[in-house]
Amino acid sequence: MEKQKAHIDKNNTVIKVRGLEKSFADYDVLRGIDLDLYQGENLVVLGRSGTGKSVLIKLISGLLKPDAGSIEVLGNDVTAISERELQELRIRIGFSFQNSALYDSMTVRKNLEFPLVRNRKGITRDEINKNVESVLDAVGLSHTINQMPSELSGGQRKRIGIARTLILNPEIMLYDEPTAGLDPITCIEINDLINEVQANYKTSSIIITHDLTCAKHTGDRIAMLLEGQFQRVGTFDEVFATDDNRVKPFYDYNFTE
């Protein structure tokens, strides 16, 4: 399915990152990242394994603390706000994990209800059911409602993981390797789902991947993370219009025979 033209508001920055640095032991993973995510935009972060792509979104969601720099999400400085404020902010951010991270002791229904009943005080049983059915319908998996995560395929788990984040109507979506480990057909389905989420839920998203097909089909803008910094940022064609031997192999591996 072709990606529809997104309504991007470049006057409204939902995530603003400046001078972000993060190290683990002696290894400097992020070395001064600057990033703007605009309202309604899908930004794909590309890079080799271990370059800090997942670290970046974990820093944005407050799961990790940066060594230096600032992260502003929906007007809140993630590095400076209190635990309670961070918790309230997280309700507005959806995080889809690489391995889905479904709660394996709960059914699909319980997985979806879990964030809802804890964040929407006074919600009735009817409203819970309606919300659960609505997001399951959105990801096309209504029939799995009573199944356990272990009974689902990799693609279904990814979809349920996305549904669990959608149930809180997030303004921002963070996808960590959404197509990793999936067959090509399921990858296409997940790419379409990401575009549907952008169109129907009006979300702004950061998509972490090293799958160029995913990047091409979902990204309004691509940012290439190399050696701890964004070396090339632009549209898909702009980023790969280069002879840089750190960038070219990505394209060649995926698109040339």
């Binding site: 918790q87 709660y103 964040n119 984040t165």
Partner: protein
């Protein structure tokens, strides 16, 4: 000379390693302290996960029930059988019910229950939370604006603190039953006489000390299992280490607490 040389050569690195280990030990103590403090800070604040506490109580009880029943009964029978010859030598076989009940109520029931629970429940909590940590399920709870510490840790620690004293009480009665059956078979003592003699030497302090021990053991098993699992790292290897660490640490602490509580109870007698 060669030995002196090798000692001189390796001494600084050994010293550095020792220094690192000591530092790591104190860092771990601090982390455990902070973890316990966090538990007491969060356990009294809403939201209260009552349903999950009940579910965890059921899990803890069910997981250990069969093993505790069997072990409790065998402990009662064996202890009675082993004690008989010594008492027979002194012509004091009639003291057997008292001896068995004192040993079971004061020491064996809470200790046996705690050791079994450390193995069955502690390892299970460590592995479960460890697995949730390495598969990012705990992170997923955190980023969805919920409180994983409250839902996963507080509920499990409350459950072990409530359920293990109940299981210890049950173990005491099962062990006494084992003792009674053995005494009844050998000495022909009636049930009412056995129970009368069994409870006669026990005081309120004994029951209270035994219950306190079981409560402390329950808390220890829960908090250690949760600490090990919640802070698990390094993938599947970390899950195994968390489960193993939960059992070993909990058992070690249970023995230390046993000594301390016996000492403290002694002051009240």
């Amino acid at each position: 000379m060669a030995t002196i040389k090798s000692i001189t050569k390796f001494a600084p690195s050994r010293f550095a390693r020792l220094k690192d280990r000591v530092a790591a030990f104190f860092l771990m103590l601090y982390r455990v302290y902070a973890f316990i403090l966090r538990f007491f800070k969060e356990v009294f604040l809403p939201p209260y996960e009552f349903k999950e506490v009940v579910r965890q109580c059921y899990e803890v009880g069910v997981r250990s029930f069969t093993l505790i029943s069997l072990t409790g009964f065998i402990v009662g029978v064996i202890f009675t059988k082993q004690s008989r010859p010594s008492l027979t030598d002194f012509g004091a076989t009639s003291w057997l019910p008292s001896l068995v009940s004192i040993a079971i109520m004061k020491a064996l029931a809470p200790l046996v229950t705690a050791l079994i629970a450390a193995g069955k429940v502690g390892s299970s909590i460590g592995a479960e939370l460890g697995s949730m940590r390495v598969t990012e399920q705990i992170d997923a709870m955190e980023v969805s604006g919920t409180k994983p510490f409250k839902f996963l840790v507080c509920t499990r620690v409350i459950a072990t603190t409530i359920t293990i004293p109940l299981l210890a009480t049950y173990t005491a009665f099962i062990a006494l039953l084992g003792g009674y059956l053995n005494v009844s078979q050998n000495e022909g003592t009636s049930y009412s006489t056995f129970m009368e003699q069994a409870f006669e030497p026990l005081t309120f302090v004994d029951f209270w000390a035994s219950l306190s021990k079981a409560i402390v053991f329950g808390f220890t098993i829960g908090i250690v299992g949760c600490y090990q699992g919640y802070n698990s790292t390094k993938g599947t290897e970390g899950v195994g280490k968390a489960a193993n660490g939960a059992v070993v640490t909990a058992m070690f602490l249970v023995f230390i607490e046993e000594v301390l509580i016996v000492q403290i109870a002694g002051w009240f007698r």
